[in-house]
Structures are given as structure tokens and as C-alpha cells.
Amino acid sequence: MHRTKVRVVEEALDANNTIAAANREDFDRAGVTVVNFMSAPGAGKTTLLERVVTALPGVRVGVLEGDVQGSMDADRLASLHVPVTQINTGSGFGGECHLDANMVRSAIPSLPLHDIDLLIVENVGNLVCPAEFRIGEDVRVMVSAVTEGVDKPLKYPLMYRACELIIVNKIDLLPHVDVDLHHLLYNIDQVHPDVERIVLSARTGEGVEAWREWLGRIAHREGAMTVG
């Protein structure tokens, strides 16, 4: 018996990226724009979707819900008569803390791709792992709630850098927490200079119009690119 060195030089996440590319092809072929929607647990992703999914004229929205356990979020959105598909990443107790390309791939047959224009994938609440795994999306969006504190961009730069849009939520709570909005925005700019940002409150509705408009824009932007 002897030992041999084998040169590999391969990104360890290539396998995931290959499946993500296959997903992207399927979505493109169906003319569906896909948003990978991420945040820490409790930042307000589901509420932000409730606010806009039925208010996008000319855009048929579908939602893919990733959760470790349960269908609470899926039920909330389904009650708005939006097609919702659920992926539970858990088996018993515990489970994957993110969606990967393969999980999304296995959900594709149950997605109504021909009846929607925009698919929003609500990822598992987590600021770490979801940033590592492409799922075949066109754009990545994150929600950063002011209640999480000003230091989160510096602690989770991978996530803040991965996203094309950063939504700063819960600004209605600013008078009640020791958080300086300008300091948070400055830290976001340090980690991801000039990234597009929308500052809003999902609860009061302040700023939500900009989020609705943004979604409408990207649904058309990506859709226009994939026609034909």
C-alpha cells in the first residue's frame, strides 16, 4: 500500500452551483423570475410578503416556503389565495438551516410554474448558511430589522454582500430601541457599498410601497430578458 496525492482544485460548493444552474434554466424556460428572500428569524419576511403578494398588477406571484418545521408561514400566505408550496427541511427535531439547490430542485415539479410570473422563495430564517447556497434565483433580497442592532452587517458580511436589495424593517420601533438608523445604514454601506436599500415598516406600511414597486420592476426586468 502506498499513498498518492491527487490534485483536485474544485470549489466544494460546485455541486450545489451546478444544480442551481439547472434550476435557473427551468425557471427561465418558464419565464418565471425567482427571488431568494432571506433574513434572520423574526425579521418580518412573511409579513412583508403578505403586504405585497396580492398587490402587484399584472404579476402572478407564487411562494415557495422553506421552514425547518411546520406550515404556519405557508398557511398565512395561502389564506391570501396565492399558490404556496412548502418545503420542510427538518425531519423530526432539528433539520437543515437553509434551502439548497437540491431541495428546490425536488420542489420544482410541485410548483405551478406556468401559472406564475414571479416566484418568491422564503428561505429558512438564518443569516449564515443561506448566503452560501445558490438555489437558481435571479436575485437575492434580505431583510434586516432595526431591532437586530447596528452591528449585524459587520458580523454577517457574507449575507449582506450576497444581496442585491437590503430591506431595513421595523423602523416604527426605532423610538423604543437603542439603535441609530444612520449607524446601521453606514455599516451596511461599509460591507456592501451602494447596495440598493429600502427602509420601511411592514407593520405600519411606511415605505412598503417602494418594496412593492421594486418587486414589480424586477418581475418585468427579468421576465423581459427571458422571453423567447
Binding site: 498518492t4 491527487v6 490534485r7 482544485v9 438564518n126 448558511c129 459587520l154 458580511p157 461599509q190 457599498p193
Partner: protein
């Protein structure tokens, strides 16, 4: 925490190249920007490697420093904290020159000597 998922990705990548041979060493290049904690990765790797060709393999991690380059003014610099705006021209068109690697560079495997039938 993402080290568990990353460990699975390493084992799957290695298994493809090991071709069934037992792996003794995995040489990994990890960029500083990947937010990987070496000890945690080593712990999960040993766990995920069980019952695979990587069982018992040593994980050697080469940490690659983070360097950025400004496409606006060509300034290149090293960073220790996640500040991505160019310190020379304050521009935002900044690319990562190094530090986002997560790459299996090479593996060492045990070859069973081939005995030609006579």
C-alpha cells in the same frame, strides 16, 4: 454553524475524486471572507466523514487572506474587517482579489498495489 453544511460539501467533492480509495488527507483552501471557523469545520468534518471514503482523514486548512481591488482606481489592499469601500478613492466598484475561496486543493489517498494476474 454553516460548517456542517460545508463539511458535507467537502466530503461529496472529495468522494468524487477519491474513486473509492481511502482518503488520508484533505487539503483545503479557505478564504478569510468565508466566515469559516477552522476548529468547528474540523469537528464537523470528522463527524460527516464517518462511513465515507474520508473517514479518519486529516483536514488541512490553508487560510487565504482577504484582499480587495478597486476597479475605479486600481488600488489593491488587505482587509481585516469587512469594509468594502475603496480607502483611496471611496469608490464602490470593488472586487475580491482573494479571500472568498472554499476549494478542495488536493487529497492524499491510499493506493492498494495492483497485483497483475499471471
Amino acid at each position: 454553524m454553516h460548517e456542517l453544511s460545508l463539511s458535507s460539501a467537502i466530503v461529496n467533492t472529495v468522494a468524487k475524486h477519491a474513486d473509492g480509495r481511502r482518503v488520508t488527507v484533505v487539503n483545503l483552501r479557505v478564504g478569510r471572507l468565508r466566515q469559516v471557523i477552522p476548529d468547528t469545520l474540523e469537528f464537523y468534518f470528522a463527524f460527516v466523514a464517518r462511513d465515507s471514503v474520508c473517514e479518519g482523514a486529516r483536514l488541512v486548512q490553508e487560510v487565504i487572506p482577504a484582499r480587495l481591488r478597486c476597479r475605479g482606481c486600481d488600488h489593491e489592499w488587505a482587509i481585516e474587517i469587512p469594509a468594502f469601500r475603496c480607502p483611496a478613492c471611496a469608490g464602490s466598484d470593488v472586487v475580491i482579489a482573494s479571500g472568498d475561496e472554499f476549494e478542495v486543493e488536493s487529497i492524499e489517498v491510499e493506493e492498494v498495489a495492483c497485483i497483475a494476474p499471471r
